[in-house]
Amino acid sequence: MTTFKRIAVTAFAVAALGAASLAAAQDAPQGNAANGKRIFLADGCFTCHGRSGQGGAYNGPAPILAHTALPFDGFKGQLRNPADDMPAYSDAVLSEKDIADIYAFVQTLPGPSSPKDIAILNN
């Protein structure tokens, strides 16, 4: 079953994202989060990463994007020339502004919280 193989790698990708500098995110161009949400839902981002940016799976893991700590340049680089099976979005599909807007949107998505606050996650 390849499901586990693919999901399992997610954790490492997420860890890598988490290690990125929050300061770098502050260097991102100003984006329109509302328009970013529209693109995120219309252009397929949610299909792999989830509407809440909770992550998911395509052929491989689709990392968590909610409140990502990935720097904007890294975020854009992954969209333009992904390291794995993620589709590559050229400028003809997503403009620089679109990417900035998406980045602004995912920054608004709440990241993980403590599972201790959710009783049924502690069974």
């Binding site: 079953m1 219309a42 252009d43 397929g44 395509y58 968590i64 589709p87 003809a92 919280s113 069974n123």
Partner: protein, 647 residues
């Protein structure tokens, strides 16, 4: 499905039925309608005017037909005895004239033993048998119409083949051309009806006599249940089923003795033990290993002896999900291994390879160049050529032909003999590190699950957490999942041999609902609480399975992971559009199941099952599950339609 056509004449096969119909028509003619919409009675003047026609006159004046019209034995009776001698509990069917002899014999001679499970499609019947076998550890039978029914059954048989699951399929046929009636009996007959499934069955036959049937049935059962297991097929001649037994005294039911699964060669096992014991970082990968309740215990014993990582591909219930050595969600362990032991793998190359689905398809090993690979299993002992389910070639260093479950105790003992106190201390340290990593992974999964907790559509993490919260104290068995849905294995405590039974095998869509039902049928007599998740796309291939569940009162909680799409295909289309530099905002065309949205709870209720949903607000999920679980405990099927985020 077309059945044998009704002949207008009073032939041997239709005589009694025709007489019954005449009597019924006469009764209707004199019985007044009792409801406003009932058919009106025939007017009295018409009855008075009726005169016998030439056919009736001929029938009443000709001498009686000398052909026999009754028989005291039938080949079907003997066939039923043979099936019962094998301990087959159930036969899933969609009724058809080409095996009416066997069907009637099972019901009357066998007193419905094997128990007939009525299905509304052959795909459902075979998949039920597949799911059943993986819980019960033995095959059930499936019967289908010879040509068209078998054509319906093929994809499910392919799933069972790829999944290495034993299923006994029988299909009716009329071998002798001069015995076939006009019409349907010709288009439903074949010279070699098993040809269509021969590429994905282990063995098939078309017996020409009852003794031949007996020996072939026992052989088929034996072949199917000998690892590597798989489906088998028997073509049953209709005359053989229906006609009297000519020589009952000469018939004999052969003695069935199961094959002892082969253990690996002792020298090879000893070599494997030495490699594993001397390794710094051995890793076990496993897929379809556990075929009895002993399998999991055997693997736990080996893993604990070595204190090594286990990566479970979950083709069966191989290893407890919360065992500290379970590293299934830490696949990078493969890249750190110096020795890999791969047991009963379905896709060894795929498990040990990084593959990229890009314009130029690339692959590279996920393991180090000096890693030694040991394989243990029987999968490659029986291969066929056409369908490529054997996967890509993988270089290995030691290839042991032997049943994984049967060979593990000898491997564990061989390893234990080689482990001195010094190694024990090293291993203990290794085990501690793995346990800590396992615990961290579980905690990370819980943390990840919190994202979007209150979102609508509902996240799959929340869906799985809510379900587990309500079934965790039951004697549960989860027997189905949707594509890429792994939250159960990340969050739940799987520890009993029947708590999981793998996936479809051939990735043929339509498996999940009926196969889960078959597993529920097996669990029923053990009093277990069966539940399954399944995608909405899969559900719609075989929704009629719910009627079977309601009709036979098979308790199961079925949760529809309803993302309103064939979502994997949706993502593929997005990838294609992005690759081609074109718009990606229309990729829902042909990939989604919306406009209108399907109301699965209503579909379920229409089939006689309990239905809940569609649930869109996560706060509504727990009460819906409570109601559905109560319906399951009352003995029937329940469906909960959960509108979810895609993954």
């Amino acid at each position: 499905m077309p059945k044998r056509r009704q002949s207008p004449d009073a032939s041997r096969r239709n005589f009694l039925k025709g007489a019954g119909l005449v009597g019924a028509a006469a009764a209707a003619a004199v019985t007044p309608p009792v409801a406003a919409n009932a058919m009106p009675a025939v007017p009295a003047e018409k009855l008075k005017a009726a005169l016998p026609g030439p056919r009736q006159v001929a029938a009443e004046t000709m001498p009686p037909n000398s052909d026999p019209v009754n028989q005291s034995t039938s080949g079907g009776d003997f066939m039923t005895d043979v099936l019962n001698s094998l301990g087959i509990e159930y036969m899933a069917i969609n009724c058809a004239s080409s095996y009416r002899g066997l069907h009637e014999a099972i019901v009357n001679h066998g007193n419905n033993k094997p128990e007939i499970i009525t299905c509304v499609h052959e795909d459902i019947a075979v998949h039920m048998a597949q799911g059943y076998a993986k819980i019960e550890g033995k095959p059930m039978a499936m019967a289908c119409h010879g040509v068209v029914g078998l054509q319906h059954a093929t994809m499910a048989m392919y799933n069972a083949w790829c999944d290495r699951v034993p299923v006994l399929v029988v299909g009716g046929n009329i071998m002798e051309a001069d015995k076939r009636g006009p019409g349907a009996e010709w288009v439903h007959a074949g010279v070699d009806i098993g040809q269509i499934v021969r590429d994905f069955t282990k063995w098939d036959d078309q017996p020409a006599s009852l003794q031949h049937f007996a020996e072939s049935a026992v052989r088929a059962y034996k072949v199917a249940t000998t690892p590597p297991m798989g489906p088998v097929f028997l073509s049953l001649d209709a005359e053989l089923q229906e006609n009297p037994i000519p020589d009952a005294e000469s018939l004999r039911i052969p003695k069935f003795v199961p094959v002892t699964p082969p253990q690996g060669d002792p020298a090879a096992i000893a070599q494997a033990a030495k490699m594993l014991v001397e390794a710094q970082n051995p890793v076990i990968v496993v897929d379809r290993m556990a075929r009895t309740p002993a399998g999991m215990a055997n693997l736990v014993a080996l893993a604990e002896t070595l204190q090594c990582a286990v990566i479970d591909n979950a083709g069966r219930m191989n290893f407890p999900s919360r065992h500290p050595l379970n590293q299934s969600f830490r696949r990078a362990m493969i890249g750190q291994a110096d020795v890999i032991l791969a047991i009963e793998m379905n896709d060894l190359w795929g498990t040990l390879t990084h593959f990229s689905d890009r314009i130029n398809r690339r692959s590279r090993p996920a393991y180090k160049s000096d890693t030694k690979i040991i394989t243990l299993g029987v999968r490659d002992l029986y291969l066929k050529s056409n369908y490529q389910d054997f996967g890509r070639w993988q270089d290995v260093d030691l290839d042991i032909a032997g049943d994984g479950e049967a060979s593990l105790p000898a491997l564990t003992e061989a390893a234990q003999r080689l482990i001195d106190d010094g190694r024990k201390a090293t291993y203990a340290e290794r085990g501690k590190k793995l346990a800590a990593a396992h615990l961290a992974m579980v905690e990370r999964s819980k943390t990840d699950a919190t994202i979007g907790w209150d979102a609508s559509p509902i996240t799959t993490a929340r869906m799985c957490a809510e379900v587990y919260n309500q079934i965790k104290d039951e004697d549960w068995s989860v027997v189905g999942t949707a594509i890429r849905l792994s939250w159960m294995h990340r969050l739940w405590d799987f520890k009993k041999p029947y708590q999981w039974n793998g996936v479809s095998g051939g990735s043929g869509v339509g498996y999940n609902l009926p196969a889960s039902l078959g597993a529920a049928l097996a669990n029923k007599k053990h009093g277990r609480f069966t539940l399954a998740f399944g995608g909405d796309g899969d559900f719609m291939f075989n929704p009629g399975a719910l009627w079977t569940a309601a009709h036979h009162q098979i308790p199961i909680l079925y949760i529809v992971h309803n993302n309103r799409a064939y979502h994997q295909e949706y993502m593929y289309l997005v990838a294609m559009a992005a690759r081609h530099g074109r718009g990606v905002d229309k990729m829902d065309i042909g990939t989604t199941i919306k406009d209108p949205n399907i109301d699965y709870a209503t579909v379920a209720r229409g089939m006689g099952a309990h239905g809940e949903g569609p649930i869109t607000d996560p706060k509504d999920l727990a009460p819906a599950l409570t109601r559905a679980i109560a319906a399951v405990k009352a003995g029937g099927p329940a469906v909960v339609d959960v509108v979810t985020d895609p993954r």
